[in-house]
Symmetry: C2
Subunit: 136 residues, 2 copies
Amino acid sequence: MERMTRQRSAIESSVQQAGRPLLPQEVLQLAQQAVPGLSIATVYRQLKALVDEGALRAVQLAGDPPRYEPAAHGHHHHFQCTRCQRVFDMHGCPGNLAHLAPAGFVVEDHEVTLYGRCADCAPGPRTRAGRRRATA
Amino acid sequence: MERMTRQRSAIESSVQQAGRPLLPQEVLQLAQQAVPGLSIATVYRQLKALVDEGALRAVQLAGDPPRYEPAAHGHHHHFQCTRCQRVFDMHGCPGNLAHLAPAGFVVEDHEVTLYGRCADCAPGPRTRAGRRRATA
DNA sequence: TTGTATGCAAAGCGTTTGCAGTGAT
DNA sequence: ATCACTGCAAACGCTTTGCATACAA
């Protein structure tokens, strides 16, 4: 079975603690803080293994490379900031989408993604100079 | 400006007449019926140019490479068959999605994709043996 | 004639994989 | 002592790009 290596736990906990879906490169950078010599190949291998085991889920959107998040988060959708490109979780689900499909089509699943400005990048009166970026 | 070459018109009309978003490889195959020597590099170059000019739109979903459709189709969403992987247009739009975003987030756009079985690949009573695949 | 568009092949880029060495069990 | 895991580098698949030629204007 799977062995508990420093690499594996560093990769898994990076994703578990991130609070938003992470790119493989972001996982590498975070996990390298715990395991300096960590290679990108191991990140890819472990991310794939963790997805297969059901610990993580791949979030694929709009031509971007896949991001990874804890599978425990349950059904939800995502919001991508058009300025900083980061992806955030959204709670709630529009539901009742099956009627959009053409006649004779069977709907099994759905994906909803919103695009716009995250709280940090939003324009207008709420903008404060010097606001720090959300936890990476 | 853009020159009207055989390659360009073959590529554009392939996408215009397809009836569903096409992958670059599919565009190549269709356009090669009109221009046998057509190269994949030219397909990529022209697809990019046509998107920049506003004639086509790129449809990007779930880790797949981008597909291309006529920009004239207006706002709509897509359905991807989990069996044949083809992508189809859906008319209609759930609307009222902005409330899903976290407080302070500004929604500018949205993307909705349904997954399931297309009419050709649907299970159950409608299935007929020997049914031919829809026009590729 | 002029310069963009093309075809070919090489280069990129993110991801995957073969291999021999490392280290968890 | 095993044998899965790791790092490295080569291999991959898709897309882009450099370059000399072809051809639309």
